[in-house]
């Protein structure tokens, strides 16, 4: 047993909970490599650059239940109303009962059956394992139970958005789940994905450690919305996203975070092909002692690629938010165009923000801008609204919600946007005080 293992109850638990049956030889080989890499790496401490403001020590020593198949909801639950094509997971396990049929023209399936049907995925699943520097991502690779596969052959357009639901029950105590998502959009394919990580009022102290790998081949377009909503300030979610964009591929990703004790989104987007475009944005609405950490890196590996990052945080109570973002322009990636922007609105004196936009540029003909702004509600703006007859509380609400709405307006699906707007409105109403 290595040092890192003996220190971590979590790593042992997810390892033991892993299904014992041998499934696919190449997957088992991948898992063995991931385990070895993890054993060498161990868990992060404050000396790790991207873990300076949050180290998961408490999480790692917690006790978790092994996930067992559970039914939380019925198929008719209103939460599924707008989600005709969906795959549902409860405590990280695939729920055939709550999931629906695939839309027909797209391979949208539970991950294991997908991996059996598509041996060519050996070149995609965990492709960059050797470069992987996040131990939680490695853990997911060696321990993932269930997951979702989204595959679109060349030129195929998904007719409607594909929905992924990850529910946490926590009915028998805290659960550790390790779901995996693999999306492959071949040349010119188009798809919209909505991934919901919903704790509801459940899931106390559970820990979801998810990985999403996104392959957008030449000219493919992927729109992706992450909704990370929990009604209380309990539980943790780590989502590691790895995106690989070929020539002129486009990725638009919006992540909305509300509730939970800890949410950590780590996105690494590799712009591998010329003219690839990646727009990632996020909104966190945090109160109490909630924390949301964004660890983002966009790598311009080819010329003429475009990247945009806009992240906003609305903070109340003693909440914490981190924007730790790197835009890196590799040698030869001329005409790269990169923007990073982080804006934070503090509604309390005790909330904290750590904003660290960073640039590394190894090419000489590039456009790169970054900015960060943190402040409280502007007195001039409040006066403007009050001079129109709005009371102070309403004026605060209007400013805070308007701040959030800029990100919400980027969510492409109208119904999803309306759903999350209502949720954020409720949260902001509770946050503003007269």
């Amino acid at each position: 047993m290595t040092v890192s293992e003996s220190k971590s109850s979590y790593a042992q638990q997810v390892r033991l909970s892993k299904a014992q049956e041998v499934r696919l030889g190449w997957v088992e080989a991948l898992r063995a490599r991931a385990l070895k890499a993890f054993d060498e790496k161990g868990f992060p401490d404050k000396s790790w650059e991207s873990w300076r403001y949050f180290t998961p020590s408490k999480l790692l020593s917690s006790a978790f239940e092994k996930p067992v198949p559970a039914e939380l909801l019925s198929k008719e639950d209103p939460i599924f109303a707008g989600a005709r094509c969906r795959i549902v997971f409860v405590d990280g396990l695939f729920s055939p009962k709550l999931s629906s049929q695939a839309p027909g023209n797209v391979d949208f399936s539970e991950l294991w059956s997908g991996l059996f049907n598509h041996p060519e995925l050996e070149t995609r699943l965990g492709r960059d394992l050797d470069k992987e520097d996040n131990p939680f991502s490695l853990i997911n690779t060696f321990a993932f139970e269930d997951g979702a596969l989204i595959m679109l052959p060349s030129g195929r357009q998904a007719l409607e958005p594909l929905h992924l639901f990850f529910f946490t029950t926590g009915t028998r105590g805290p659960v550790a789940s390790v779901p995996r998502i693999l999306l492959v959009a071949e040349e010119g394919a188009e798809v919209a994905v909505v991934a919901r990580f919903y704790g509801g009022n459940h899931g106390q102290n559970s820990f979801e450690n998810a990985v999403a790998e996104i392959y957008a081949d030449a000219g493919a377009r992927v729109r992706w919305t992450n909704l990370q909503i929990q009604e209380n300030e309990s539980g943790s979610l780590f989502l590691q996203t790895r995106a690989y964009l070929k020539e002129k591929a486009e990725l638009d990703m919006v992540t909305v975070t509300r509730g939970r004790e800890i949410t950590r989104n780590e996105i690494r987007a590799e712009l591998e092909g010329p003219g690839a475009q990646c727009r990632i944005s996020g909104l966190s609405v945090l109160s109490g002692r909630s924390q949301a950490h964004q660890a983002l890196s966009v790598l311009h590996r080819s010329p003429g690629a475009v990247s945009r990052q806009i992240y906003k945080n609305l903070l109340d109570g003693q909440s914490r938010a981190e924007f730790n973002s790197l835009a890196e322009v590799c040698p030869g990636a001329q005409k790269s165009d990169s923007h990073q922007l982080n804006k934070n609105l503090l509604l309390s004196d005790d909330a904290r923000v750590y904003s660290r936009p960073k640039l590394k540029i190894y090419a000489d003909d590039v456009q790169a801008a970054h900015g960060s702004a943190t402040g409280q509600a502007d007195p001039g703006e409040l006066f403007y609204l009050r001079s129109r007859g709005l009371d102070l509380r309403t004026a605060r609400f209007v400013l805070a919600y308007g701040f959030a709405e800029e990100i919400l307006s980027l969510i492409p699906e109208k119904e999803v946007r309306a759903e999350i707007e209502a949720s954020v409105k409720n949260a902001v109403h509770a946050m503003v005080r007269g």
């Binding site: 001039g380 001079s387 209007v398 308007g402």
Partner: protein
């Protein structure tokens, strides 16, 4: 005629600097007053005091509006009592739809009068009439409040808000700045259409130009925090010709 606004011996400061040093002014229903004066004379500060801008500190004097002590009222209470300030620099509020914002303000007023709020359909009808009265295009409504608006568009949007809220006393703070002649005329027409015998206007301006279109009953010259001279519209023409120095400003 009854006195709508009465200001007596008003002294005020911003960030520790004395700006208003004893201002007296009376405005009655139906009247249009122009407030002119050199830069830094305190024109905008006076408009801010009346509307309740918390950045201004009142050190002496009184301001009464229809018998109420205005200085004891919150900005929103003043707005609901019928005071409206068209800002010199309207604030951009990204993420807040202009039409939705107008409806919020309109309904805040209805609520204060004990009336039911207007639903979106009902309000659309009201808004259409108001918008046409002040010559503002429908495209304004779908945008975020003042966000990305040009200087001129912002001023028009202020006048649209004024049309919707139908104030008893409108304070127009340099509404002419940033407008070309055509826009100026159009905005002035809008303001004039909103004029009734029961409302009043205080037009703060640096130049006489605006007063060709919004004709004042009274002109006041403010200099160094005091009303130096009051007169009729010919005073503005005199200032245009001879500058403020002639007044000893």
């Amino acid at each position: 005629m009854n006195r709508m606004l009465e200001i007596r011996g008003l002294k005020a400061r911003i960030a520790g600097n004395d700006i208003l040093k004893g201002v007296d002014l009376t405005i009655r229903a139906g009247e249009t007053h122009a407030l002119m004066g050199p830069n830094g004379s305190g024109k905008s500060t006076l408009a801010k005091v009346i509307s309740g801008d918390p950045s201004v500190e009142i050190t002496a004097g009184e301001v009464n509006f229809e018998g109420h002590n205005l200085l004891e009222m919150e900005p929103e209470a003043r707005a609901l009592a019928g005071i409206f300030l068209a800002f010199q620099y309207p604030v951009e509020i990204p993420g807040v739809n202009n039409a939705a914002f107008l409806r919020m303000a309109y309904n805040a007023q209805r609520k204060a009068r004990g009336q039911e709020p207007a639903d979106p359909m009902e309000f659309d009808e009201i808004l259409k009439l108001k918008r046409e009265a002040v010559e503002v295009s429908a495209e304004f409504l779908d945008r975020a409040v003042n966000h990305g608006f040009s200087g001129g568009e912002k001023k028009r949007n202020e006048v649209l808000q004024m049309a919707v809220l139908e104030p008893k006393l409108a304070l127009l703070d340099e509404t002419d700045s940033g407008l070309d002649v055509d826009a100026l005329r159009s905005v002035a027409r809008g303001v004039n259409r909103l004029k009734t015998p029961s409302n009043a206007r205080l037009v703060v301006t640096h130049y006489q130009r605006l007063l060709d279109y919004i004709v004042p009953d009274f002109v006041h010259i403010l200099a160094d925090g005091r009303v130096l001279r009051s007169g009729d519209k010919t005073l503005a023409l005199e200032v245009e010709k001879r500058g403020y120095d002639w007044l000893g400003a």
